[in-house]
Symmetry: C2
Subunit: 239 residues, 2 copies
C-alpha cells in the first residue's frame, strides 16, 4: 500500500465540502468489545476512522467505502446514529500537526482545516475477521479495548460514548444480521454477547424470558453435547 | 413581514455549503395529528420547512432557529432522526421553478441548485400553540392532516414517513417534555395521544399495564369529576 501523504487531494475537489463521516467500529469476539482507532505516531494522537463523500456518491455508500477501506470487510451492518455539528468541534490544530508530521505543509485555508460537520456511523463486526489498514495520514490502525481507550482527538470520545449508548439502547433490534453469532447459537452465546456490549452481568432466567418475549428467535433442536440431559437448545434469528 | 425573494442571499456566503436541514413538525391536538407544510402557489408544490446552517452556528441551533422561524415556538423538543444523502435526491428543477415563479432568475450554478445533504429533524408540538409563517420563497405555511398529505417535493414524503416511523418506535421515551399533555393527565388522555400518533386503537388494560411498567409515570390524586366513583387517577411524568 502506498501510504504517502502526497496522495492527499490538494484541494477538496471531487468531494462534498465541509462534510465528513466518522466511524465507530465496534469489534466483538468472545467476551471482548473493542473499537478500531487510527494512531498518528508523530503526534501521539488517536482518532476514529473517517471518510469524505465524493460528489457523485451516496452518503451511506461513502460510509460503507470508508469501513471497507479500514477493515477489508464488506456487507457489514452500518448505521447513522448522530450528526456532530457544533462550532466548537472546529479546531484545525491537531490535523495541522498530523499533516506537518507527515512532511505535508498545508496552507492555512487548506480544505481539511476548515469546519466540518460529521455524520457519525457505527458498525458491529467480529474483530477477528477484519484486517485493519491505516489511512493516508495515520501510522497504525488497531483494535483498542473499549474499557481502556487512549485520549482521542477533537470530540471523538463523545462520538464513541454516544455510539455505545445508541447501540445499547437498540440492542434488541440490532443484532439480527450483524454476523456476530454463528447461524445457530445457544441462549448462553446470546447472553454473553449482550453482557459484553452492555458491560454488565444479566440474570439468566429473566434474560431468557425477555429474549423469547421479543419474538425474534426461532428455537431449533437441542445442541448435541454427548450427554443426554442439560443439552441447551439452539436458536436462530427469524428471517 | 417582508416576503420579497430579493432577500435571498445571492451567494451561499455565510452558510455552510451543501448542507441543509429539513423539519418534520408533527402537530398534535385532541385526536388529530398534522404536519406543517410550505406551499408554493405558482408551481403547486408542497415542501417541508427547511433551513441552512450559518458558518458560526451549531447545527442543532440552526434547526431550532428554523423551527422558531416557521412556528413562532421556542424551547421545543427537536430531534435528529436521519441524514438524507443520496445522489438521486439532487434535482434542481422544482426549486428553479419556484424561484422563477417568484420572479427570481437564478444562474445555473446558483448555490441553492447544487447538491445538498439534508439532516432530518422532527418535532412534536401542540398545533394550536403555533403561528405558522411562510419563508422567503413560499406562499403559505399550513398544517396538513397526516392522513391526507399532498404530493411533496423531492424526497420529502420519504422524510415524513421515516420521521413518523422513528417517532412511533421511540414513543415510550419521547413524550416526556413535549408539552403535548397538560402537567397532569389521565391514563385516557395519554392513550388518546398514543392512539393518534400510532394511528391505531389500543387495548385499555394492556396499555395501562405497559405504561405503568415503563416506570415513567407518577400517580397523583383522582381527578375530581363531581361523582365519587369512576373518577380516573391523574398522572404526571416523573421529573
Amino acid at each position: 500500500m502506498n501510504n504517502s501523504p502526497s496522495l492527499l487531494p490538494p484541494s477538496g475537489e471531487g468531494f462534498l465540502p465541509g462534510l465528513a463521516i466518522d466511524l465507530v467500529i465496534f469489534g466483538f469476539h468472545e467476551n471482548q468489545l473493542k473499537i478500531l482507532l487510527l494512531e498518528y505516531k508523530n503526534t501521539g494522537l488517536f482518532a476514529l476512522p473517517a471518510g469524505f463523500i465524493k460528489n457523485d456518491e451516496n452518503l451511506n455508500d461513502a460510509a460503507r467505502r470508508a469501513l471497507t477501506e479500514r477493515t477489508g470487510l464488506h456487507d457489514i451492518y452500518l448505521e447513522q446514529y448522530y450528526v456532530f455539528g457544533d462550532v466548537t468541534r472546529h479546531d484545525p490544530t491537531p490535523l495541522e500537526a498530523i499533516m506537518l508530521g507527515k512532511g505535508y505543509v498545508p496552507s492555512h485555508d487548506h480544505w481539511l482545516l476548515r469546519r466540518f460537520v460529521s455524520v457519525g456511523y457505527y458498525a458491529l463486526v467480529d474483530f477477528t475477521q477484519a484486517v485493519p489498514i491505516p489511512d493516508l495520514l495515520s501510522d497504525q490502525c488497531e483494535w483498542h479495548d473499549l474499557n481502556n481507550l487512549p485520549s482521542l482527538m477533537l470530540d471523538h470520545t463523545t462520538m464513541v460514548n454516544k455510539a455505545l449508548q445508541t447501540l445499547r439502547d437498540n440492542l434488541d433490534h440490532k443484532l439480527i444480521g450483524t454476523n456476530l453469532l454463528p447461524e445457530t447459537f445457544t441462549m448462553g452465546d446470546l447472553q454473553t454477547l449482550y453482557e459484553t456490549i452492555l458491560g454488565e452481568k444479566l440474570n439468566r432466567t429473566s434474560f431468557q424470558r425477555k429474549m423469547l418475549d421479543l419474538n425474534i428467535l426461532e428455537r431449533l433442536d437441542k445442541k448435541w453435547t454427548g450427554g443426554a440431559h442439560k443439552a441447551p437448545y439452539l436458536y436462530r434469528f427469524k428471517g
